[in-house]
């Protein structure tokens, strides 16, 4: 029996304007969606060309969820996105060439070659790099919110986790502490229905992850993760609430993981019908249709945006490809921080 609220789709331009987006913002969202998907598609190609070492993960199908949430964040909010949330990095302003450099293990990637694929974040942009032990960053995001609360700042922390990661104790401890202390944190569950090859019914026993919020003393809401505007609207409401001291919210974005767990996984365990059904709800297509129908989105505008995105991607791949590998001499560097390292916008 579900407990969480299910979000309604966004009906009109007016409604979304009330939620704080004007037309330019809306076109910007489309650009970000295209860029997000484009980066991951290019990454695929680069991987198969042998230019990306290790493994490669994408969030195909999750673009609207990630872009939608991030669009509702303020510049001084912070977050801990995961590997399906490329859109968050894009919206926050990470340069695409640096993302490719990161994938390719180059010295100019955000981790300087020290970590791979999407284990990156530019902390000047308020993002904290993820680890593989999901959802280890959830208590960290809660800690950020704790700092905001102690200092009485009107800032919000966002913590991402998948429906699979929700099974670990870190989720429980983090949410519990956040609920007990009414901390300004919004929890985002990317529920793409498959944790590698494990379907949801083997991952959790309640109907929605969002149902658990109640147990921690706050609200949960389930939203169609392929509907970028619905996601945005819910995120905005939750973030504003947290900012004003209303405590946490758990937003569950429902999508389907449209590719394998990683590029080496062909997801043959996913029933074909699921791919078909969710394929029809492709986030980019949905949004494009909505723009056409509700915002007078023209061919010229679309051409322009597509052309710009394509150029950005081409330039980014080229620049990253030409950038150097890390110097072996840097291997031992940076294990420990020096006092100067604390001079960042966040460690202030």
């Amino acid at each position: 029996m579900a407990v969480a609220r299910e979000a309604e789709p966004v009906s009109s331009l007016t409604e979304i304007k009330e939620a704080g987006l004007d037309r330019e913002d809306l076109l910007g969202i489309y650009r970000n969606l295209l860029l997000t998907r484009g980066i991951e598609e290019r990454g695929h190609i680069l991987y198969k060309q042998g230019k990306i070492p290790g493994s490669f993960y994408t969030g195909r199908g999750n673009e609207a969820a990630s872009v939608g949430i991030a669009t509702a964040m303020r510049p001084d909010d912070v977050g801990t996105p995961l590997h399906r949330d490329m859109g968050v990095h894009i919206v926050r302003g990470v340069e695409p060439w640096r993302i490719f450099a990161q994938f390719m293990g180059r010295a100019d990637g955000p981790t300087k070659g020290k970590d791979g694929n999407v284990h990156m974040a530019d902390d000047r942009l308020g993002l904290i790099a993820m680890v593989s032990h999901l959802p280890a960053m959830l208590p960290v995001a809660v800690g950020c919110a704790l700092a905001f609360r102690i200092r009485e700042e009107k800032r919000v922390a966002l913590a991402w986790f998948g429906e699979g990661a929700s099974a670990r104790g870190d989720t429980h401890e983090g949410m519990n502490l956040a609920g007990v202390r009414r901390l300004p944190v919004v929890f985002i569950c990317d529920n793409n229905q498959w944790a590698y090859s494990t379907p949801t019914h083997l991952e959790y026993a309640c109907e929605h992850i969002a149902d658990r919020a109640k147990a921690y003393g706050f609200d949960g809401v389930v939203v169609d993760g392929t509907d970028v505007l619905a996601v945005y609207r819910e995120a905005k409401a939750a973030i504003d609430k947290a900012r004003e001291g209303g405590g946490p919210t758990l937003i569950e974005c429902l999508t389907l993981r449209m590719e394998g767990h990683a590029v080496h996984d062909d997801a043959s365990y996913v029933p074909k019908e699921m791919f078909e059904e969710w394929g029809k709800r492709d986030p980019l297509e949905r949004y494009r249709t909505w723009l056409r129908e509700n915002a007078q989105f023209t061919d010229e505008e679309e051409e322009e945006i597509r052309g710009e995105v394509k150029k950005v991607l081409n330039d980014a791949v080229k620049r990253a490809d030409e950038s150097p590998m890390p110097d072996v001499d840097t291997l031992l560097d940076g294990v420990f921080a020096n006092p100067e390292d604390l001079e960042t916008p966040h460690h202030k």
Binding site: I45, Y47, K48, Q49, G50, K51, P53, G54, S55, G260, A262, V263, H264, D265, D266, K318
Partner: protein
């Protein structure tokens, strides 16, 4: 983007644990054009089957792996060339050519690399002069393993081994207070400070090569702060070795020296004649030393004990002479005593050549270990500096050492044809024989010198 240079296509790694891939189908053939990102081939791996996009635009110049072939990740499987580029066939890499063997290192016999055979040192005991003396071989002193049944092999800890090496000490000669009687760091430090040998040192009587006895009064001066005007420099290993061996030789043999004056006038004249002859034909100098060496070798045949050795309670004599010559090394670095083996087989020319050769090799640091061991008698010739007398130190375990001094023109009393005394100018040379009086008595030494003189003074053209 079109490629300007040839671009390799490699087998991609489809997943972290994947190590190889199989080519299932080439979608293009050699010579066909291809665009970047266009699918070039299909592959199959453990995890997934997929298409591989081309990394560049151009022409598929060469396929290096065929359909059905399984290759390791990273293997080059094709080459994309710019349109119109000549086809460069990939050749199988050349098998690496065998490296030339490292050049045999020239064994450096000089500078104290000689093994343990002890040599005599020539220290001027009272006033040290720059006398060229044979170079002793500084043997590594930590000789616990050469117990030879004299003492039990005891554990030597790393720090004790190090201190022993630094001070040239034989650990086995120190009394140990550690567990099992081992020498502790404290024990050896005390020893270094007070220089006491724990047990009375017996003369070296172990079978050759003799383990060197720790010197009795070997205490290096306690390090004090240098006074104004004093400079302190550490002793080189060679110098330490020389010091140790000088002391030991004097402690071992009963050194006595006898001198005799030799009239070298005839040889002097002969030398002048031979010089020209030899320079042209043999490129070698007929030195005084060569004459003396020849005469010494012949004389030793009649005095085997002077070419002999004390071993334990026995006397060793030989039917050969391995003749050592003291050579001074450049820059005052030290001395070395290369040996001419079987000198009894050489004539004057052979002797001159042999001496020249070893002296040169000694200076060039090209002596082999064999060149500095096995000597039975030694000649040193400090006479080059004009001295007329000396008392060299015997090179252990030999019985004697001959010193030759400057050939000087002196007024001399001679008998003329009428049997009358007259004063003539003669080329006179002193020689000394320093001998071990444990074995060689004064009378024997005297007779040896007399016979040596006789040979040299009666040398004529026919003497070889």
């Amino acid at each position: 983007m079109a490629t300007g240079t040839a671009v390799d296509v490699v087998m991609p790694q489809m997943g972290v644990s994947v190590s190889e891939g199989t080519i299932t189908k080439w979608l293009k053939s050699e010579g066909e054009a291809i665009a970047a990102d266009e699918s070039l081939l299909e592959i199959s791996t453990d995890k997934v089957d997929t298409e591989v996009p081309s990394p560049a635009t151009g022409v598929l110049q060469q396929i290096l792996a065929q359909e059905g072939e399984t290759v390791a990740v990273g293997t080059k499987i094709a080459v994309i060339a710019p349109e119109g580029a000549p086809v460069e066939r990939q050749e199988a890499p050349e098998p690496p050519t065998a490296e030339a063997a490292a050049e045999a290192e020239a064994a450096s016999g000089a500078e104290g690399e000689a093994p343990t055979q002890q040599k005599a040192e020539e220290a001027q005991a009272p006033a040290p002069e720059p006398v060229p003396a044979p170079e002793p071989a500084p043997a590594p002193p930590a000789q616990a393993e050469e117990g030879n049944g004299r003492r039990e092999a005891k554990f030597v800890s790393p720090v004790v081994a190090r201190i022993a090496a630094e001070h040239n000490i034989d650990v086995s000669s120190i009394e140990g207070t550690g567990r099992g009687g081992r020498v502790t760091k404290k024990d050896i430090l005390a020893y270094v400070e007070h220089g006491q040998a724990a047990a009375p040192a017996a003369p070296a009587e172990a079978p050759a090569p003799a383990a060197p006895e720790a010197p009795k009064a070997a205490a290096p001066a306690q390090p004090q702060e240098p006074q104004a005007g004093e400079t302190v420099e550490p002793m080189s290993a060679m110098r330490k070795g020389i010091a140790e061996h000088m002391r030991r030789s004097l402690d071992t043999s009963a050194h006595v020296t006898s001198s005799i004056e030799i009239d070298m006038t005839r040889i002097a004249a002969l030398r002048q004649r031979l010089k020209k002859e030899w320079a042209g034909s043999y490129g070698v100098n007929p030195t005084y030393l060569a004459f003396v060496a020849r005469a010494v070798v012949d004389t030793l045949k009649d005095y085997p004990w002077i070419n002999g050795e004390i071993r334990g309670d026995s006397i060793v004599t030989r039917n050969f002479v391995n003749l050592g010559f003291a050579v001074e090394l450049a820059d005052g670095k030290g001395l070395i005593v290369p040996v001419v083996k079987n000198a009894e087989t050489l004539n004057l020319l052979g002797m001159a050549k042999a001496i020249t050769d070893i002296a040169q090799r000694a200076r060039d640091k090209q002596l082999l270990p064999d060149d500095v061991q096995g000597g039975t008698f030694t000649i040193t010739n400090p006479g080059g500096y004009g001295t007329f007398h000396g008392t060299p130190v015997i090179s252990q375990p030999q019985a004697a050492i001959l010193g030759t001094y400057a050939v000087v023109k002196r007024p001399w009393v001679v008998e003329d044809e009428d049997g009358q005394d007259a004063i003539a100018i003669r080329s006179m040379m002193n020689v000394t024989l320093t001998y071990d009086h444990r074995l060689v008595d004064g009378a024997l030494a005297g007779r040896f010198l007399r016979d040596l003189r006789e040979r040299l003074q009666s040398w004529d053209e026919s003497t070889e």
